[in-house]
Symmetry: C2
Subunit: 344 residues, 2 copies
């Protein structure tokens, strides 16, 4: 059977084209007991107790996704697990178990291994998670593949497809710091400047919002959610497409850190462009019942006084897509989101 | 914290030493809700319905575990999923869901992709499984990481640690064909000889025993099980160690195929050595209640008339370990099982 036509190599299709072809394998998608490809996690329903299992998996390859001279072993361990936990959070679930497949060169330094597994152990302990299995293989470069399982009452699952016309759009956390940190790493900027260190750390060891996500899912006021892994432009488009709705985002309401603003000023970078097109911030983008804005925000900030909660836009009827406004005028965020198969 | 001491690089520790260090991360191992590293799968208990979830994951790296000119795309897709299904079978479970992380060069041929996913699709259909998620990344070589979930009534789970003195040892399937096929590939033997093709196919597209494993687990007579992925010598040692028992295996009772015997004769290879030390046959090695031998074997062969069921040894009190006898005399199977970190 042919899922891939002639000329449809991964670099021609791009990441989302490739995933779409693979998804054809699973048939029409959702069945009574599971939901497949197309959201942050796969969902397996457990009809006997009202809970569902969320599962996600993520592969990081040295040289493509990280360089060992750009990130410490501990931060790599932390981050490679954190990005999977963030997928569980994107649907409102509680992370429970992890499996790790790891490819390692035979001569990997024990100090590096201690750092790497220390980063994993610390994050497992923080969230009461357990590493229950995995695989170890020899390889020329480091390859990290985590699979993370979470649980959630089925009624609380937040899908990308749940946004409703009339909803407002909320954002938990900040955006752009990680993308600016990556730019600094790429230009080998002096990392001993404290501001630069702050942004590089946002890239190498991003904050994730586990308890905040559970809070939102349990509130009953949130209709859809995604984590900002590929950039708001790309991730908001997933909500728009899967909800069949039009999203409007006010770029002047994006929560940009003071550090990002200052460094962007020094380099003449556009903070909006970075915030919209660079990924790996792992902020949570969600839509919620507009009548509940005050209620939701107040109760959230009571529980999480240090976590930014921003209202950045709204959902309306219309062609599925995302419109950006800056001070009321149309704004083109520039570069498209990152597609690894279409970039070098 | 230091899990790895100085000089403990992966090649110094070997695969099992590395896994043992990582297992320290999980603390003492088993808790009320899950069992971790040390069996074919991790186990998550679901207290509400008496069922458990089995999970396993496996990474295959091009150049280390396969070469694209040695195995067709379809066989690679089949096998990379099959080895995970076999882990579910090793505990007696029913495979249900798969997640695939795949690293691909950007210019991968669409024909190759069609073959690869065709192999996966065929195996999913055979066993009523569903591909529910995954990740796609760009990489210089092909990397395949499957995670497979299965289900099993908790009372039926077959652990490596369940062997009891007095048990007999059974084997489902044949051993050695896959190892001989790999030898033929390595010496670039002419693959158009039908006998060689048969053995190479046993390596590239191994038979797995899904329904047979469920039958054994449901029989109530089987006490422990493992799949022969690293060779009987190595895998029998896992049962011995984890059960704290002594295993005796009669090498003259090993089910060696006529083809293997003939090819070994032509090359002056020892079929016993290949059968004991080469892996990737995915036969099932298990211990069972000795009083039930006739009953178990008859009912098994009634259900699976074409699948070999061999009684190859016994379990006794004594130092945990494995003893091999050939025609009643001690037999040294030669080379140790494969350890990827200790070999080139």
């Amino acid at each position: 059977m042919n899922w891939f036509d002639e000329e449809e190599s991964p670099e021609e299709l791009g990441e989302f084209g490739l995933i779409e072809r693979i998804a054809r394998l699973t048939g029409s998608g959702n069945t009574h007991d599971s939901m497949g490809i197309g959201d942050d996690c796969a969902v397996i329903r457990n009809t006997s107790n009202g809970f569902a299992t969320l599962i996600t998996t993520d592969m990081l390859v040295e040289g493509r996704h990280f360089k060992r001279n750009w990130i410490s072993a501990e931060d790599l361990g932390y981050t490679s697990l954190a990005v999977n936990i963030s997928d569980i959070s994107a649907m409102g679930g509680k992370p429970r178990y992890a499996l790790l497949s790891i490819g390692l060169p035979g001569n990997t330094d024990p100090d590096w291994l201690n750092g790497f597994f220390g980063g994993i152990k610390g994050l497992c302990d923080t969230h009461g998670m357990k590493l229950i299995g995995g695989d170890t293989v020899k390889s020329n470069s480091v390859i990290v593949n985590f699979t993370v399982l979470g649980s959630i009452p089925e009624k609380n699952i937040l899908l990308r497809s749940g946004a409703k016309p009339g909803d407002k759009l909320g954002l938990i956390g900040r955006v752009g710091d990680s993308g600016a940190g990556l730019r600094l790493l790429k230009q080998s900027s002096s990392p001993d400047l404290p501001l630069h260190r702050h942004l590089i750390s946002a890239h190498n060891r991003p904050t994730i919002y586990v308890r905040e996500a559970i809070f939102l899912a349990e509130s009953g006021f949130v209709h859809s959610m995604i984590d900002v892994s590929d950039g708001i432009r790309s991730d908001a488009a997933h909500i728009a497409k899967q909800s069949g709705a039009k999203l409007t985002i006010h770029t002047d309401r994006l929560p940009v850190s003071d550090v990002l603003a200052e460094v962007c000023n020094a380099f003449s970078w556009s903070p909006e462009e970075i915030a919209l097109t660079a990924g790996e911030d792992y902020a949570l983008l969600f839509s919620f019942h507009s009548d509940r804005e005050e209620n939701l925000k107040r109760s959230f900030q009571n529980s999480f006084p240090d976590t930014p909660f921003s209202v950045i836009g709204s959902v309306s009827d219309g062609n599925a897509g995302v419109r950006f406004l800056k001070n009321g005028r149309n704004f083109d965020p520039g570069a498209h989101g990152f597609d690894q198969f279409k970039s070098d």
